[in-house]
Symmetry: D2
Subunit: 287 residues, 4 copies
């Protein structure tokens, strides 16, 4: 009721804006792999319904204890992207924000990797990506697909692009949880085998750092076909993992952009990160 009045007043107050105004729709699919429904948000650029054309796509991944709504509700991705498209810093694109978690981390599955009982990576590449790209007029090649995310989703983005460099033109990792060898998240002493235990194990077993250390030259040359960006706050408790990833990649001659801005592991950092992330993806899409 209040909302209705609010919208009415805005309509009265604001002159017509010619600015770019995309929309966010909530959708879902039934996953055979996971045995459950998976919700996701999709940002569709201004004019999507009428244009009939195909668009580049970004997969934007949330963090531990968040869900598919986080980037819209807490990161204001819609307003930021509208503004960046308006200035031309980002191109018109579709942004897909799938669910891979929830706030009750001990009893709800979180994570982008395969783990006992939650084969999310299988779901993502075999079920989800084909489904969403068929449904939403995505161009659908490496040159027009990017992945980005924060924390657990920054690690997920990095590992997805490491293991599938043929699918992504760029990867932007924010405050990324790239390994758990030092018990960075949740400590190392907890033996209770709940959902939180398995995601920590999976992150450890999918270490983005070990991946570089053990990559052969052919793998490295494939990594060089992806544009990498690593962005982490100077007081973030995951900083060292991110530093190490940049150093290892550089030492193996895989170029990555690296930034350390002021900040900790919070939404102020990620909200601002979008202002670099969408333009970076845009610049690395094929023409």
């Amino acid at each position: 009721m209040k909302k209705a009045f609010f919208l009415l007043s805005l309509a009265l107050l604001l002159p017509a804006l010619s600015a770019h105004a995309g929309k966010v729709v909530t959708d879902s699919m039934q996953s055979v792999t996971l045995g459950s429904e998976v919700k996701f948000n999709v940002y569709l650029p201004d004019g999507f319904d009428q244009s009939g054309k195909k668009y580049p796509v970004v997969y934007l991944l949330h963090g531990l204890s968040d869900d598919y709504q986080a980037w819209v509700q807490r990161g204001n991705m819609q307003t930021v992207l509208d503004e960046l498209i308006g200035t031309g810093e980002a191109c018109e694109m579709i942004v897909v924000m799938p669910n891979a978690g929830g706030p009750d981390i001990r009893n709800t599955w979180n994570g982008y990797f395969n783990m006992p009982g939650w084969n999310y990576e299988d779901f993502f590449f075999k079920e989800f990506l084909p489904f969403v790209e068929a449904k939403y007029r995505v161009i659908g090649d490496k040159g027009h697909r990017a992945v980005m995310g924060l924390s657990m989703g920054g690690g997920g983005s990095t590992v997805y692009a490491q293991r599938h460099p043929d699918l992504f033109s760029s990867c932007y990792a924010m405050s990324a949880w790239l390994d758990n060898k030092g018990g960075e998240v949740g400590g190392s002493g907890n033996a209770k085998k709940d959902c939180f235990y398995y995601v920590r194990e999976a992150v450890r077993n999918h270490s983005a750092l070990d991946f570089i250390d053990t990559a052969d030259e052919e793998t490295l040359s494939r990594l060089r076909t992806v544009a990498w960006f690593i962005d982490c706050g100077d007081d973030d408790y995951l900083l060292d993992l991110n530093v190490a990833l940049h150093q290892k990649m550089r030492n193996h001659k895989v170029k990555s952009e690296f930034r350390v801005r002021n900040g900790v592991h919070n939404w102020e950092y990620w909200h601002l990160a979008l202002r670099w992330a969408f333009p970076f993806a845009t610049r690395n899409f094929s023409e």
Copy 2:
């Protein structure tokens, strides 16, 4: 329930942070002038309860159709200010966010000025400011008091500092609604005398532009004791009012900082504005 789990998990995940962490409390007072209860939020800096010391104060004003919760809920003022205090760009301060409106703009009073039935300026200076400064250990002189706000609150801030330059060391106006002579908000043809009508009339009658045009030299010399900052987006429909204020003040040798960043009349703009506004207030507090 979900919230409890969420907080629990954060406690598990995050190492102790030494960073600055203020808190926001919601309070209210019964106004005789307005004949109603007025709610307000107060940001108290880290250690407020223990320190026993007095602090500078900022009055942070919301816009039309918003209320006292907007700066916390939509502007994330708490996280931004914590971060700025952490780096030293802002000093420890108390921030007071009073209610002066609501979303149902036709049937709820909005506005910072006196108008028939809603003498808010009287309330603010005679009831509210004394009440809050007595209750919350505010230093309480011009050298340690600032005012800032967005849109209707940007206009309110400007006019408050124009009419009470002895009370404020600085004023930061964001996307300010400074006059309504051109029917900038709500158009000019609406004759229905509802709450929205009266706030538009009040803004017209308290024009910050006319104030400069008609100021005598003594008034101008008092305006020069305030540090002014005007910040408005290049695509904001109120831009011309803000340009005019800067030009008029400069032409009368009242120095003001002026910025036009990319943007429209939205929370992305105001959220970012806080990163300049709190440091500006800080630099202009007396030592």
Copy 3:
């Protein structure tokens, strides 16, 4: 001698950088129109000599009392552009910096317009542009040509793009001298008909503001095919002209980006402006 040692030491110290490293060459042509030799600097992107391909071109114009060396020597355009190309924010491009002035403003011609004794606009479009674009492998269409400049060159850029919108995809004006109707530069009382007198008259007679005021709808529709950016410091003595240009264009529905940053009329402002100007030109080149 010192320079030789310096370069030697750098060669010893620095590991090979894979970063983009363009070069600046100084060239000249004999102008029939002006009856003199005209020098110019040209920035050529990394690999220009080997690539064999054609590039977009930017004309980068200096200000009053400066010359063709100013952007390289005082604006560090080479390092800035190398860095922007390195991150992909700017594309590989050729930047042409022609001479249109000199420090002895009373006895040396300054200016981008036709004036008695100095028909520079004729020279620019009939002699210079064809010469340079034939010589330097420029793509040579509107979609791959931009103009930008500071102060007198900001005015020159704007008027060139106004009068030749079929030639430029974008125009970036920094602290632009757009008119002299208020005696903004040099005052209005000086009657001595030296070179400085004539450039002031020419700027007045080529007012970018009058151009908008008197443009018919067909002209306006052609202006809409150019991307405009106006960038001026809040304490620049030419601010009001730049504000007026943005307002007039917006009122005639010719979209322009507009920014007011902190600053005055100096090289700190223009040096930083390049970080927005080259990416803006890039985004507005055709693909």
Copy 4:
């Protein structure tokens, strides 16, 4: 001659600016320790000659193969600081830029440490600092003294503040050369004992990293009285040293700000760094 005309024309063109305008004077002293004259530049804030008051001081150190003129000529420190004082982001201060090198690095001494034949640290603390602070109305306590510098001067700043934490309230290190254990500068195989050899040895022997590793608790507690800022480009060949310093300090609970911006080891990076360095020093001066 040209210069005279240029200044004349500026005087004609520009309206009087009320902005802050400091000046830079070149001075020198005869050093007994070094057995030679040492030149230095001093930035004096607007009004210094008339004010009679004492000011905070910053020591701003140049890099290898540069000299005392570099910060003024290549870093434009004067304009940047004038502007920052104008907005209040920096306070009025004296900036001292001593000579500690020169371009012929094999035959001219470079360096801030004691080495065979060049006891610069002795000179700096026993001769230079007392001389300059007596001559230029410096407040002269830890609370009003800071040190900052680039590359070799960033290392010098860090080590000076490590070894003399009682003298400096803050230290801002840009692209700092903090050790030479990996042959970071000049490689490791060069055995010719020229000036360049000795500065590399001195940097190795004054490792800022080893200093933290071997510090006892009392030393660490003294380091905590200094505000530290480490700023290095993501593609700088000295990045890893700077990362390591931040990590070691944090692990020993000595707080430091840390930033990695886009860039390499060049003046674009250091020029911009001044915009954070002077405000950082200001915020950490005592009131």
